[in-house]
Symmetry: D2
Subunit: 325 residues, 4 copies
């Protein structure tokens, strides 16, 4: 069975642009960590900068992680929720903001080291643009790459997992798709820069996630991290895994195993109106239900299905293998 983790904030309050105070009440960090630890199979958490961890509270957070026997799987630098990043962060037009973004990310690297965390999950959500004729696409994309390179070069002990997303909060993100982001990662020339797939972001990008996994693994094993959720295809609805799609997850878990992905299976959802712990638990149990089936014999059956390419057989096999008839 793979290693499962969650993003801590998924257990807390979540807001949107209409209900900015959030749908729930704020809970103490200790409660969130206890809830994480209570989910069967969860052994790690991801912490978001500002929201979950800062230079100021990192030791306290470390103690709490130890208390609940949880590993810090990644730190996600807060490149998105601060007013100063509103018009760009690592790739901002303003050189002072770019510098601040760099400094802040260095801080996150230090936090990671203190928490014995090996991965920075970098999602530069504010780096992009909204309108035609608003961005110097050559220059700003270069800045983004150079900043990532500078950070990664300075911290060879840390893996930088770049998380892509086609849009939101910008109408166009610079890191929009698996291959765009892989190109940027490769351009740094550094082995500690790779990519994080968020399944919902990939759905919105029109990608078949399995193919994104394969592309990232084929070009130098650059798949560093996985975020799981589900959605209806046109937006990052951040729903419980399996609540919309089914066969796609079987294919994903097959290819993760087939390409020897050994990273975390992390849940990233926005259970606005749901019990957060329940939503994450259900997602994990859904994935584990699939993983449990993927023994050697079943892996070989799938390989044979792929060789043949007969969609009727594949669908029949999926139904007979996974459903109560």
């Amino acid at each position: 069975m793979s290693k499962y983790s969650i993003i801590l904030g998924n257990l807390g309050n979540t807001c949107d642009r209409f209900l900015s105070s959030g749908y729930k009440d704020e809970l103490p960090k200790e409660t969130l960590l206890r809830q994480a630890a209570e989910i069967d199979g969860v052994t790690g958490v991801e912490l978001v900068g500002t929201w979950d961890v800062t230079s100021e509270n990192v030791e306290i957070v470390g103690d709490l992680l130890a208390k609940f026997n949880l590993k810090c799987v990644s730190i996600i630098p807060d490149h998105f929720s601060q007013k100063r990043w509103g018009r760009g962060c690592l790739a901002a037009k303003d050189p002072d903001i770019r510098k601040q973004a760099l400094d802040y990310t260095y801080e996150c690297i230090e936090m990671a080291r203190k928490l014995k965390c090996e991965t920075l999950n970098v999602w530069p959500g504010q780096d992009g643009y909204d309108y035609s004729l608003q961005s110097n696409l050559v220059q700003e994309r270069r800045w983004l790459m150079e900043q990532i390179r500078e950070l990664a070069e300075s911290a060879p002990d840390i893996r930088f997992a770049l998380e892509y997303k086609p849009k939101e909060p910008r109408n166009f993100s610079f890191m929009a798709r698996a291959s765009d982001t892989l190109l940027l990662a490769k351009e740094t020339g550094l082995d500690n820069v790779g990519v994080c797939i968020d399944t919902g972001h990939a759905f919105v990008a029109g990608e078949n996630v399995s193919e994104s996994i394969v592309i990232l693994q084929e070009y130098g094993r650059r798949l560093f991290h996985m975020h799981f959720n589900d959605n209806y295809g046109s937006w990052d609805d951040d729903m419980i895994v399996g609540s919309v799609h089914f066969p796609r997850y079987v294919e994903m878990l097959f290819w993760l195993k087939e390409t020897n992905y050994d990273g975390w299976y992390s849940m990233d959802q926005y259970p606005y109106r749901e019990d957060g712990q329940g939503a994450l638990r259900e997602s994990i149990e859904f994935l584990q239900m699939i993983e449990n089936k993927l023994d050697d014999a079943v892996m070989e059956q799938i390989r044979e299905l792929l060789r043949e390419g007969n969609a009727v057989k594949s669908q029949r096999w999926l139904r007979k293998t996974f459903f109560k008839l």
Copy 2:
């Protein structure tokens, strides 16, 4: 168990705009009907005008249906595959074309009567427009309604199931969504005009099919017919049922039963490169797998889930009820 049928042409050759000769070979009509009859549970077929049935061959087709003990569930007038309908059919700008469309549909009514078929499934695929400033939206929509009304008034023994689809082959169809089409049906003032939901068309329209079912049933039991298939959400891919989505089909079958839908469950797919019979059979077995579960106890469990509205519970219930754990 419900009544299952298929669209006959799904078993034959299928083409697209790039491979206009089609991906397969043409098969004799008798072979298609034999294949239909061989699928467990199939007791009816839908026949497309021109492709499957014409005034000339209707007796022969009737004999073949009898031979294979198949009911003609609907005739789908060919309002889309003839060059003369290229710029519109029932709602064409050219009054002569509108007249031809009417005459041709009257012919289809006669065919239906000869085959003891009670339903005309009307999909006016060419009625719509492609560009801004191309259609007199008031006038052409009125023509469409008036033509339907004239036809339905003249044939009270026939039910007219209007099939909607947001686009293709026109960029915008006049019958685009469930509610648009319901409005038109109601405007005729006739009880024998209702709506056909094609699940894939509804997905493309962004509808939750269950809600479309409910809307059509709530406003005077206007759901006359159901076409089943699956797709990725942005286009009418016409795939095997369950090959992309799962929970949505459970919800649909619940609501069909809950609102006492007593029409056909008909398969409408385009198995371009698949064995047609296998694709249809697999779709039916997928739906029957769900239907088999929907006994009184399970229906009541679902009602309780809907009362509570707890998404975590619903997802957990779906997994535990339908999947092998």
Copy 3:
């Protein structure tokens, strides 16, 4: 020239789920109103409940409106930004919440009367659902209609413009599309219930806005209000009018005029990172640029283009009429 208005909050701070404190600073209400009045052509504003107007401040707001010579075009009851509405408002499962929603809306009616405002723009953003098997679609949709009917029946002096939107903040809204909402409006049996089109919501619904205008006008002149903005088609990006599309707006303004729409042309945007006043002004100037061209001769030219339906001619005409060659 038509009557132009704006939604007041568009001039203020705007947030999203990642930057919940907002991209800008809060401004005093008086500043917002002054900015509104400064935009050439703007003679009215729409006020959002809670954000802009409450029972407590309604007199002060009225005085400020008078000071800046602005009409209150509509009140938009706050059915979306309060925690108590998080799981539904007018159609909530909880009868107490439904009652509160009713009471609160009655309050808004009183505010409207105090401000001599004739329209309540009702956008029940929280009424819908997110997951399969989460909503009793029959019951909850009925509640929504009945609540609207009760409100509208009690206030025949007020027009209720129901604003539809396919999704956000719920994955599925009960008022999702023009025709769905028209059906609900008609079901109330009341003449003071109609529909508001938000152009961006309609784009996301896959509608051709011109056709939505026509449908609403054809079925009993139910188009009560218009919100203008632009987007990329898959999400409610709430952008400056004309920043993505062009010919669609020409077609819209033609049909508004052709069907004798005499309501407001109101701007509804989310200029997260832009100068709000500038964004609204530019949108209005864009629309006025089109409107200025629509004199009797040009209206007749368009009618002729619609009669002929030749897309090449229409595109050529658009280019020659609107662009500097």
Copy 4:
């Protein structure tokens, strides 16, 4: 002014899956070429294999091109309209089909040489898959790359422009997006392999075409070719340029010029029901209208807009520069 060309077949008959005989009548090749030559500014044509050019008729075609003084801008090998390619072509599972695909493409290289054409525009439309668990994504993607490499290595005098498209005729194409295709091109290690952007394909992929241009040019000047058309965003509607969008085309033409693209501006449309010559002419005049404005002063104005990133200013500038006020 740039070099303009068209795809010859755009002038002929076009069909779809419902009207497989096509919306128009077939015209003699000479008529099509005459029509192409008649369009002001057109100096080249692209020829599709099978449809327009074969080993058998290449000399005749060459003579006709000479007669009308048209350059053959590219040959587009027919990797999509033959029944044998139905389940894959260059990347087919069947080794014999892969071999045939290679042999056929070699034939196209010979045709190109005979016509003094420097570019093969390779669109492997049938290489992809439709269902989950249908494709060995690692193996089949490798085959595709290896076949392209083998072809390009053998013909250093020919440029291979790989045209991407997210879907259709397969639900998922292997060459789906700009960056995916760039990665494949780079992996060949050959300088004569690059990418063709079809603007409509890029819209469907959710790309901002300008950014795709920039990415391809930044990573080694791999933008080899441009196909122009417009659509509504969710499907390859292949419409007249400018019939839906406007500012995006200004941004594109800016970046093509700014990155010193010196290839062709080629029209690729499917004027199903329109006069083909008129549709192409209008598209070219629309693009030329923009290009005509992009003199040194305007280019500098745009650079300044990009430096500042003020969307209100950009939209205002667009309106004042391009529209009659």
